[in-house]
Symmetry: C2
Subunit: 206 residues, 2 copies
Protein backbone atom coordinates (compact mmCIF):
# COMPACT_ATOMS: atom_id res chain seq x y z
CA UNK A 1 0.00 0.00 0.00
CA UNK A 2 1.40 3.40 -0.98
CA UNK A 3 1.18 6.04 1.76
CA UNK A 4 0.06 9.57 0.85
CA UNK A 5 3.25 11.60 0.16
CA UNK A 6 2.91 13.79 3.26
CA UNK A 7 2.66 10.67 5.44
CA UNK A 8 5.54 8.93 3.68
CA UNK A 9 7.69 12.04 4.21
CA UNK A 10 6.86 12.24 7.90
CA UNK A 11 7.55 8.51 8.42
CA UNK A 12 10.91 8.88 6.69
CA UNK A 13 11.95 11.87 8.80
CA UNK A 14 10.87 10.19 12.03
CA UNK A 15 12.63 6.90 11.22
CA UNK A 16 15.94 8.81 10.82
CA UNK A 17 15.92 9.88 14.48
CA UNK A 18 18.27 7.94 16.77
CA UNK A 19 16.49 5.09 18.56
CA UNK A 20 13.42 5.38 16.32
CA UNK A 21 12.96 2.58 13.79
CA UNK A 22 10.29 2.21 11.11
CA UNK A 23 7.79 0.72 13.54
CA UNK A 24 8.18 3.41 16.21
CA UNK A 25 8.01 5.99 13.43
CA UNK A 26 4.58 4.60 12.47
CA UNK A 27 3.45 4.70 16.09
CA UNK A 28 4.65 8.28 16.55
CA UNK A 29 3.12 9.42 13.25
CA UNK A 30 -0.27 7.93 14.11
CA UNK A 31 -0.20 9.48 17.57
CA UNK A 32 0.65 12.87 16.09
CA UNK A 33 -2.02 12.61 13.39
CA UNK A 34 -4.56 11.78 16.09
CA UNK A 35 -3.54 14.90 18.06
CA UNK A 36 -3.07 17.84 15.65
CA UNK A 37 -2.37 20.15 18.59
CA UNK A 38 0.65 18.05 19.61
CA UNK A 39 1.86 17.94 16.02
CA UNK A 40 1.73 21.72 15.70
CA UNK A 41 3.51 22.17 19.04
CA UNK A 42 6.29 19.77 18.05
CA UNK A 43 6.78 21.52 14.72
CA UNK A 44 7.00 24.91 16.39
CA UNK A 45 9.36 23.59 19.11
CA UNK A 46 11.67 22.36 16.38
CA UNK A 47 11.62 25.71 14.67
CA UNK A 48 12.22 27.58 17.92
CA UNK A 49 15.07 25.26 18.81
CA UNK A 50 16.66 25.78 15.44
CA UNK A 51 16.30 29.55 15.59
CA UNK A 52 17.12 30.09 19.26
CA UNK A 53 19.87 27.58 20.05
CA UNK A 54 23.53 27.67 19.17
CA UNK A 55 26.87 26.43 20.45
CA UNK A 56 28.63 28.21 23.29
CA UNK A 57 31.67 29.88 21.71
CA UNK A 58 33.72 29.14 24.82
CA UNK A 59 32.93 25.53 25.68
CA UNK A 60 30.69 24.03 22.97
CA UNK A 61 27.68 23.48 25.26
CA UNK A 62 24.21 24.29 23.89
CA UNK A 63 23.45 27.97 24.44
CA UNK A 64 20.53 30.26 23.78
CA UNK A 65 21.25 32.68 20.93
CA UNK A 66 21.24 36.31 21.97
CA UNK A 67 21.70 39.67 20.25
CA UNK A 68 25.45 39.19 20.62
CA UNK A 69 27.18 37.35 17.82
CA UNK A 70 28.91 34.76 20.03
CA UNK A 71 26.68 32.55 22.18
CA UNK A 72 27.59 31.99 25.82
CA UNK A 73 26.00 29.08 27.70
CA UNK A 74 24.53 29.29 31.18
CA UNK A 75 27.49 27.52 32.75
CA UNK A 76 30.15 29.77 31.19
CA UNK A 77 28.08 32.83 32.07
CA UNK A 78 27.61 31.80 35.71
CA UNK A 79 30.10 33.68 37.95
CA UNK A 80 29.51 31.22 40.80
CA UNK A 81 31.14 28.35 38.84
CA UNK A 82 34.74 27.63 39.82
CA UNK A 83 36.98 29.18 37.11
CA UNK A 84 39.99 27.07 38.13
CA UNK A 85 38.67 23.61 37.21
CA UNK A 86 37.90 22.47 33.68
CA UNK A 87 36.15 19.21 32.89
CA UNK A 88 36.66 17.90 29.33
CA UNK A 89 33.71 15.82 28.07
CA UNK A 90 32.76 14.15 24.81
CA UNK A 91 29.27 15.58 24.33
CA UNK A 92 26.61 17.87 25.72
CA UNK A 93 24.78 14.78 27.01
CA UNK A 94 27.75 14.20 29.35
CA UNK A 95 27.36 17.72 30.78
CA UNK A 96 23.70 16.94 31.48
CA UNK A 97 24.66 13.69 33.22
CA UNK A 98 27.33 15.37 35.37
CA UNK A 99 25.10 18.34 36.22
CA UNK A 100 22.33 16.00 37.41
CA UNK A 101 24.53 14.83 40.26
CA UNK A 102 25.56 18.38 41.07
CA UNK A 103 28.98 17.19 42.27
CA UNK A 104 30.95 19.32 39.82
CA UNK A 105 31.03 23.08 40.16
CA UNK A 106 33.67 24.03 37.59
CA UNK A 107 33.59 24.71 33.85
CA UNK A 108 33.27 22.33 30.92
CA UNK A 109 34.77 21.81 27.50
CA UNK A 110 32.83 19.75 24.94
CA UNK A 111 35.07 17.92 22.46
CA UNK A 112 32.18 17.00 20.17
CA UNK A 113 33.22 13.35 19.92
CA UNK A 114 36.08 10.93 20.49
CA UNK A 115 38.61 9.79 17.92
CA UNK A 116 37.47 6.58 16.29
CA UNK A 117 39.10 4.91 13.31
CA UNK A 118 35.95 2.84 12.75
CA UNK A 119 33.66 5.85 12.55
CA UNK A 120 36.20 7.98 10.71
CA UNK A 121 36.51 10.59 13.48
CA UNK A 122 40.02 12.07 13.64
CA UNK A 123 41.59 14.67 15.96
CA UNK A 124 40.63 17.41 13.48
CA UNK A 125 36.94 16.67 14.01
CA UNK A 126 37.19 17.52 17.71
CA UNK A 127 37.32 21.02 19.20
CA UNK A 128 40.95 20.63 20.22
CA UNK A 129 42.03 23.95 18.74
CA UNK A 130 39.41 25.77 20.76
CA UNK A 131 40.54 23.92 23.89
CA UNK A 132 44.20 24.82 23.32
CA UNK A 133 43.31 28.48 22.75
CA UNK A 134 41.20 28.46 25.88
CA UNK A 135 43.93 26.89 28.00
CA UNK A 136 46.55 29.38 26.76
CA UNK A 137 44.38 32.48 27.22
CA UNK A 138 42.36 31.65 30.34
CA UNK A 139 42.50 34.26 33.10
CA UNK A 140 42.82 33.04 35.75
CA UNK A 141 44.75 30.01 34.53
CA UNK A 142 43.10 26.63 35.09
CA UNK A 143 44.55 24.80 38.08
CA UNK A 144 43.09 21.41 37.20
CA UNK A 145 41.88 19.72 34.03
CA UNK A 146 39.64 16.67 34.56
CA UNK A 147 39.37 14.30 31.60
CA UNK A 148 35.85 12.83 31.83
CA UNK A 149 35.82 10.72 28.68
CA UNK A 150 34.32 7.25 28.35
CA UNK A 151 36.16 4.16 29.56
CA UNK A 152 36.07 2.74 26.03
CA UNK A 153 39.09 2.28 23.77
CA UNK A 154 38.14 5.44 21.82
CA UNK A 155 37.60 7.44 25.01
CA UNK A 156 40.98 6.41 26.38
CA UNK A 157 42.78 7.16 23.11
CA UNK A 158 41.19 10.60 23.10
CA UNK A 159 42.19 11.07 26.76
CA UNK A 160 45.84 10.55 25.83
CA UNK A 161 45.50 13.04 22.99
CA UNK A 162 43.92 15.67 25.22
CA UNK A 163 46.44 14.97 27.99
CA UNK A 164 49.39 15.76 25.73
CA UNK A 165 47.63 18.91 24.50
CA UNK A 166 47.05 20.01 28.10
CA UNK A 167 50.69 19.36 29.02
CA UNK A 168 51.72 21.60 26.15
CA UNK A 169 49.20 24.41 26.60
CA UNK A 170 48.81 24.47 30.37
CA UNK A 171 51.94 22.83 31.79
CA UNK A 172 51.18 24.00 35.34
CA UNK A 173 47.70 22.52 35.52
CA UNK A 174 47.00 19.28 37.38
CA UNK A 175 45.67 16.57 35.04
CA UNK A 176 43.18 14.01 36.34
CA UNK A 177 40.64 11.52 35.00
CA UNK A 178 37.46 10.04 36.44
CA UNK A 179 38.07 7.17 38.89
CA UNK A 180 37.63 3.66 37.53
CA UNK A 181 36.12 0.92 39.65
CA UNK A 182 32.82 -0.60 40.76
CA UNK A 183 29.67 1.34 39.88
CA UNK A 184 27.28 2.00 42.77
CA UNK A 185 24.91 -0.93 43.25
CA UNK A 186 27.11 -3.42 41.41
CA UNK A 187 27.69 -6.92 42.75
CA UNK A 188 31.19 -8.30 42.41
CA UNK A 189 30.23 -11.53 40.65
CA UNK A 190 28.58 -9.65 37.78
CA UNK A 191 31.51 -7.29 37.12
CA UNK A 192 33.72 -7.91 34.11
CA UNK A 193 37.36 -8.81 34.76
CA UNK A 194 38.63 -5.47 33.41
CA UNK A 195 36.59 -3.46 35.90
CA UNK A 196 37.50 -5.83 38.74
CA UNK A 197 41.17 -5.49 37.89
CA UNK A 198 40.94 -1.68 37.98
CA UNK A 199 38.88 -1.78 41.19
CA UNK A 200 41.65 -3.85 42.80
CA UNK A 201 44.50 -1.74 41.45
CA UNK A 202 42.95 1.51 42.67
CA UNK A 203 41.57 0.06 45.93
CA UNK A 204 41.02 2.69 48.59
CA UNK A 205 42.00 2.67 52.26
CA UNK A 206 39.05 2.27 54.62
Amino acid sequence: MAHPPALAGLLKQLARLPGVGPRSAQRVALALLAAPQKMAELASSLQHAQADLGSCATCGNIAARTEAEACVCEICADPRRDPYVLCVVESVADIWALEKGGHFKGRYHVLGGVVSALQGVGPDDLSLGLLEHRLRTATPEFAEIILALGASLEGQTTSHLVASLVQRAAPNALLSTLAKGMPVGASVDYLDEGTLGLALTYRQRL
Copy 2:
Protein backbone atom coordinates in the same frame (compact mmCIF):
# COMPACT_ATOMS: atom_id res chain seq x y z
CA MET B 1 21.02 23.01 35.42
CA ALA B 2 18.30 24.98 33.68
CA HIS B 3 18.07 24.36 29.93
CA PRO B 4 17.57 27.33 27.55
CA PRO B 5 13.79 27.72 27.01
CA ALA B 6 13.89 26.62 23.37
CA LEU B 7 15.70 23.43 24.37
CA ALA B 8 13.41 22.74 27.32
CA GLY B 9 10.39 23.16 25.02
CA LEU B 10 11.79 20.76 22.44
CA LEU B 11 12.67 18.16 25.08
CA LYS B 12 9.14 18.38 26.51
CA GLN B 13 7.48 17.95 23.12
CA LEU B 14 9.73 15.01 22.21
CA ALA B 15 9.21 13.24 25.53
CA ARG B 16 5.43 13.29 24.95
CA LEU B 17 5.73 11.06 21.89
CA PRO B 18 4.78 7.41 22.39
CA GLY B 19 7.80 5.24 23.13
CA VAL B 20 10.05 8.26 23.71
CA GLY B 21 11.04 8.87 27.33
CA PRO B 22 13.09 11.74 28.75
CA ARG B 23 16.39 10.04 27.90
CA SER B 24 15.51 9.28 24.28
CA ALA B 25 14.18 12.82 24.00
CA GLN B 26 17.62 14.10 25.01
CA ARG B 27 19.28 11.83 22.48
CA VAL B 28 16.94 12.91 19.69
CA ALA B 29 17.26 16.60 20.58
CA LEU B 30 21.07 16.45 20.54
CA ALA B 31 21.08 14.58 17.23
CA LEU B 32 18.74 17.18 15.72
CA LEU B 33 20.75 20.12 17.08
CA ALA B 34 23.87 18.58 15.57
CA ALA B 35 22.15 18.33 12.17
CA PRO B 36 20.16 21.53 11.49
CA GLN B 37 19.19 20.24 8.05
CA LYS B 38 17.45 17.21 9.60
CA MET B 39 15.71 19.43 12.12
CA ALA B 40 14.33 21.71 9.41
CA GLU B 41 13.19 18.72 7.34
CA LEU B 42 11.41 17.16 10.30
CA ALA B 43 9.65 20.43 11.13
CA SER B 44 8.49 20.85 7.56
CA SER B 45 7.37 17.20 7.32
CA LEU B 46 5.23 17.76 10.39
CA GLN B 47 3.66 20.83 8.87
CA HIS B 48 3.03 19.10 5.56
CA ALA B 49 1.49 16.13 7.32
CA GLN B 50 -0.77 18.38 9.32
CA ALA B 51 -1.85 20.37 6.29
CA ASP B 52 -2.15 17.54 3.78
CA LEU B 53 -3.51 14.59 5.73
CA GLY B 54 -7.02 13.94 6.95
CA SER B 55 -9.34 11.07 7.80
CA CYS B 56 -11.13 9.16 5.03
CA ALA B 57 -14.82 10.12 5.34
CA THR B 58 -15.82 6.56 4.42
CA CYS B 59 -13.55 4.31 6.48
CA GLY B 60 -11.43 6.43 8.84
CA ASN B 61 -8.09 5.53 7.22
CA ILE B 62 -5.51 8.30 6.75
CA ALA B 63 -6.12 10.09 3.47
CA ALA B 64 -4.48 12.90 1.54
CA ARG B 65 -6.57 16.06 1.62
CA THR B 66 -7.78 17.19 -1.79
CA GLU B 67 -9.79 20.08 -3.16
CA ALA B 68 -12.97 18.13 -2.30
CA GLU B 69 -14.33 18.67 1.18
CA ALA B 70 -14.51 14.97 2.13
CA CYS B 71 -11.23 13.00 2.03
CA VAL B 72 -11.19 9.58 0.39
CA CYS B 73 -8.29 7.21 1.13
CA GLU B 74 -6.40 5.20 -1.48
CA ILE B 75 -8.13 1.96 -0.53
CA CYS B 76 -11.69 3.34 -0.71
CA ALA B 77 -10.84 5.05 -4.00
CA ASP B 78 -9.37 1.89 -5.55
CA PRO B 79 -11.96 0.24 -7.87
CA ARG B 80 -9.96 -3.02 -7.85
CA ARG B 81 -10.66 -3.62 -4.15
CA ASP B 82 -13.47 -6.12 -3.48
CA PRO B 83 -16.57 -4.08 -2.56
CA TYR B 84 -18.31 -7.08 -0.96
CA VAL B 85 -15.97 -7.69 1.97
CA LEU B 86 -15.46 -5.28 4.86
CA CYS B 87 -12.75 -5.71 7.48
CA VAL B 88 -13.36 -3.88 10.78
CA VAL B 89 -10.12 -2.89 12.54
CA GLU B 90 -9.19 -0.90 15.63
CA SER B 91 -6.69 1.51 14.13
CA VAL B 92 -4.89 2.64 10.99
CA ALA B 93 -1.81 0.72 12.19
CA ASP B 94 -3.87 -2.48 11.80
CA ILE B 95 -4.60 -1.60 8.15
CA TRP B 96 -0.85 -1.18 7.59
CA ALA B 97 -0.17 -4.58 9.18
CA LEU B 98 -2.85 -6.33 7.10
CA GLU B 99 -1.80 -4.60 3.88
CA LYS B 100 1.80 -5.69 4.38
CA GLY B 101 0.77 -9.32 3.94
CA GLY B 102 -1.39 -8.46 0.95
CA HIS B 103 -3.82 -11.27 1.80
CA PHE B 104 -6.86 -9.05 2.09
CA LYS B 105 -8.31 -7.37 -0.98
CA GLY B 106 -11.54 -5.89 0.42
CA ARG B 107 -12.39 -2.63 2.18
CA TYR B 108 -11.71 -1.50 5.75
CA HIS B 109 -13.47 0.30 8.53
CA VAL B 110 -11.38 1.89 11.30
CA LEU B 111 -13.17 1.99 14.66
CA GLY B 112 -10.64 4.36 16.18
CA GLY B 113 -10.21 2.25 19.33
CA VAL B 114 -11.77 -0.51 21.40
CA VAL B 115 -14.11 -0.09 24.36
CA SER B 116 -12.14 -0.08 27.59
CA ALA B 117 -13.52 0.69 31.02
CA LEU B 118 -9.98 1.24 32.32
CA GLN B 119 -9.08 3.83 29.70
CA GLY B 120 -12.55 5.39 29.71
CA VAL B 121 -13.30 4.52 26.08
CA GLY B 122 -17.03 3.88 25.55
CA PRO B 123 -19.00 2.85 22.43
CA ASP B 124 -19.66 6.53 21.70
CA ASP B 125 -15.93 7.11 21.22
CA LEU B 126 -15.80 4.64 18.32
CA SER B 127 -16.98 5.29 14.77
CA LEU B 128 -19.94 2.92 15.17
CA GLY B 129 -22.49 5.40 13.78
CA LEU B 130 -20.43 5.79 10.62
CA LEU B 131 -20.17 1.99 10.32
CA GLU B 132 -23.92 1.53 10.74
CA HIS B 133 -24.62 4.21 8.12
CA ARG B 134 -22.12 2.60 5.77
CA LEU B 135 -23.63 -0.89 6.19
CA ARG B 136 -27.18 0.41 5.61
CA THR B 137 -26.35 2.48 2.53
CA ALA B 138 -23.62 0.40 0.83
CA THR B 139 -24.26 -0.40 -2.84
CA PRO B 140 -23.59 -3.17 -3.46
CA GLU B 141 -24.40 -4.55 -0.01
CA PHE B 142 -21.51 -6.14 1.87
CA ALA B 143 -21.58 -9.93 1.69
CA GLU B 144 -19.13 -10.47 4.55
CA ILE B 145 -17.94 -8.47 7.53
CA ILE B 146 -14.67 -9.64 9.08
CA LEU B 147 -14.03 -8.51 12.65
CA ALA B 148 -10.24 -8.12 12.92
CA LEU B 149 -9.96 -6.79 16.46
CA GLY B 150 -7.33 -7.78 19.01
CA ALA B 151 -7.57 -11.02 20.99
CA SER B 152 -7.61 -9.03 24.24
CA LEU B 153 -10.59 -8.65 26.57
CA GLU B 154 -11.28 -5.17 25.17
CA GLY B 155 -10.98 -6.37 21.59
CA GLN B 156 -13.39 -9.22 22.19
CA THR B 157 -15.91 -7.00 24.00
CA THR B 158 -15.80 -4.61 21.07
CA SER B 159 -16.20 -7.53 18.65
CA HIS B 160 -19.47 -8.45 20.36
CA LEU B 161 -20.64 -4.86 20.16
CA VAL B 162 -19.82 -4.60 16.46
CA ALA B 163 -21.33 -8.03 15.79
CA SER B 164 -24.72 -6.99 17.17
CA LEU B 165 -24.54 -3.74 15.19
CA VAL B 166 -23.80 -5.71 11.99
CA GLN B 167 -26.68 -8.11 12.67
CA ARG B 168 -29.01 -5.12 12.95
CA ALA B 169 -27.70 -3.05 10.04
CA ALA B 170 -26.68 -5.76 7.57
CA PRO B 171 -28.66 -8.88 8.56
CA ASN B 172 -27.77 -10.71 5.34
CA ALA B 173 -24.01 -10.33 5.64
CA LEU B 174 -21.80 -13.18 6.82
CA LEU B 175 -19.99 -12.32 10.06
CA SER B 176 -16.50 -13.70 10.73
CA THR B 177 -13.49 -13.04 12.93
CA LEU B 178 -9.76 -13.72 12.54
CA ALA B 179 -8.78 -17.31 13.32
CA LYS B 180 -7.26 -17.91 16.74
CA GLY B 181 -4.45 -20.39 17.23
CA MET B 182 -0.69 -20.80 17.04
CA PRO B 183 1.26 -17.93 15.48
CA VAL B 184 3.69 -18.89 12.71
CA GLY B 185 7.05 -19.90 14.16
CA ALA B 186 5.70 -20.63 17.64
CA SER B 187 6.78 -23.71 19.56
CA VAL B 188 4.07 -25.49 21.52
CA ASP B 189 5.87 -25.48 24.86
CA TYR B 190 6.13 -21.69 24.90
CA LEU B 191 2.47 -21.01 24.10
CA ASP B 192 0.15 -19.85 26.87
CA GLU B 193 -2.67 -22.18 27.90
CA GLY B 194 -5.35 -19.89 26.45
CA THR B 195 -3.83 -19.97 22.97
CA LEU B 196 -3.23 -23.72 23.22
CA GLY B 197 -6.86 -24.27 24.24
CA LEU B 198 -8.09 -22.26 21.23
CA ALA B 199 -5.63 -24.00 18.91
CA LEU B 200 -7.03 -27.35 20.06
CA THR B 201 -10.66 -26.28 19.83
CA TYR B 202 -10.27 -24.91 16.32
CA ARG B 203 -7.88 -27.63 15.12
CA GLN B 204 -7.92 -28.09 11.38
CA ARG B 205 -8.16 -31.26 9.34
CA LEU B 206 -4.96 -32.17 7.52
